[in-house]
């Protein structure tokens, strides 16, 4: 695997089908993404398929074909598949040849949603496997954190924000169209964030819907993964990492909260759905968002 500043090892948690779904989601997104993410996804797939005969073409033969049929004098200055947008971008690149394409928001959204989806699957996989095996779920989680329960935070520590009814109605309308009756939409989020709208994650193999919020260089998302039935945990061979996870109860749900220095992810299951709140939020802010559901 190539060495790059950012750690892309989380991609290995996804199946090949899910990685292809990420590639499709990226293609359909309105904004440009970081090509490094795409290259790393492809490296993971290539590594998995390198021993599968016929899976990938012969590079030597392709190079000969390139020299014989494509890299010929008649093709000077020509493109078989021209793309107008690329031409405009190329003019900008030619003015500033040393500046690569800058990664923008979609890369982080994609990465966070991908991580959120992976974490959600991990959490759900443990729920199901624990129930099936008759294990005490609290014992299973015991090795992650000593803080098993934490009740709703003191409201005085939470940041107060405006309730934008438009965002709520927009999100609820989407759920209504899908026939989802459960209360899933928060009625509160931190001050200063702007509702960006719906992101369609339907290209992921599990299917899902998501909404993004932005405040300057910060953002968070709310995602609902839609499963057809109980997840086949065998298809997700996730290596267990030593991460700190907090189990938090809210509205009769067990919320699994993962955090590091800069971001927090919370996930929980509701029937055959998994909801994820992830982004540049403190743990208290995340809990306040979750506690406001149905409020």
């Amino acid at each position: 695997m190539s060495n790059h500043r950012e750690d892309y090892s989380y991609l290995e948690q996804f199946s090949t089908k899910q990685l292809e779904g990420l590639l499709r989601a990226d293609m359909d997104a309105a904004n440009e993404s970081n090509p490094e993410l795409l290259l790393h996804i492809l490296e993971v797939i290539e590594e998995r398929e390198k021993n599968v005969s016929g899976a990938l073409p012969d590079v030597g033969q392709a190079w000969e074909e390139f020299q014989t049929y494509y890299n010929i004098p008649e093709g000077d200055g020509l493109s078989l598949y021209p793309c107008g947008q690329f031409d405009e971008r190329m003019e900008q690149q030619e003015e500033h040849p040393s500046k690569p394409f800058r990664p923008i928001r979609l890369h982080r959204i994609l990465r966070m949603a991908s991580m959120a989806a992976a974490i959600a699957v991990l959490a759900l996989a443990f729920l199901i496997s624990a129930q099936a095996a008759g294990f005490d779920i609290l014992s299973l989680l015991g090795c992650w954190t000593s803080d098993i329960f934490r009740f709703a935070p003191d409201s005085s520590t939470a940041v107060q924000g405006d309730i934008n009814l438009d965002y709520y109605h927009s999100m609820q309308a989407t759920l209504d169209k899908l026939g989802i009756e459960e209360e899933l939409i928060p009625t509160w989020y931190p001050e200063g964030y702007e509702f960006l709208g719906l992101a369609d994650w339907d290209n992921l193999s599990t299917g899902g819907i998501g909404w993004n919020f932005n405040r300057g260089n910060e953002f968070f998302s709310i995602t609902i993964l839609l499963f057809q039935s109980t997840v086949d945990v065998d298809s997700y061979s996730v290596e267990k990492e030593q991460v700190d996870v907090e189990v938090y109860e809210s509205n009769s749900n067990k919320i699994y909260i993962f955090s590091n220095d800069s971001s927090t992810t919370a996930t929980w299951s509701v029937g055959t759905m998994v909801e994820i709140v992830t982004g540049d939020l403190s743990v208290d802010e995340t809990k306040a968002i979750i506690d406001s559901i149905g409020g």
Partner: protein, 174 residues
């Protein structure tokens, strides 16, 4: 090209070709067209070798080029399918596309349109055109069949498209 430029192109090719083919196949589902687009991406690299020689991330540059070519090709295919067949075949892979196509081709209004297209084109023009639109063949495959270069194939296809668009602007996009 200078020797160091040729070395750069070849190194980028060996390093990225398989990844790029795999990427293209996610969207086209057809190995021949995938190879066409990927080969054209590396040809694009030669056109812009001066940029690549000083670029901080030539792999990323190529990835963006490939992505844009695939996107543009999908848009074009969708426009043609939507116009000619009145259907949205955007998300279909090759096998599903053929099934949907065969189903559509049996409808009377489509049969009539195809007959009009046949009448408007010379026999070899129609055969050439149908290889791309109905069979989703690549430029390389068609070029070998007709004994021409891939660039001659592209130019010929563009001429036929323009001819049909001039006669049937409502049914055949540019």
């Amino acid at each position: 090209m200078l020797p160091e430029q040729e070395r750069l192109i070849e190194n980028l090719y060996v390093k990225n070709f398989k990844k790029f083919i795999r990427y293209a196949e996610v969207f086209s589902g057809d190995p021949s067209i995938s190879q066409d687009i990927v080969q054209d991406t590396f040809h694009e690299a030669i056109k812009h070798i001066d940029i690549l020689m000083v670029h901080e991330n030539p792999d990323g540059w190529l990835m963006n080029v490939l992505k844009n070519k695939i996107r543009e090709n999908r848009r074009r295919d969708t426009r043609y399918a939507r116009h000619i067949l009145s259907t949205n075949l955007e998300a279909l892979t090759a096998p599903d596309y053929i099934d949907a196509l065969n189903e559509k081709l049996s409808r009377p209004n489509i049969v009539e349109l195809i007959e009009k297209i046949k009448d408007a084109l010379k026999p070899d023009e129609y055969r050439f055109f149908s290889r791309f639109v109905f069979d989703k063949a690549s430029h390389l495959v068609v070029a070998k069949e007709f004994g021409i270069t891939v660039y001659a194939s592209q130019k010929r296809l563009e001429r036929i498209r323009k001819k049909l668009h001039d006669q049937f602007p409502d049914y055949v996009p540019k």
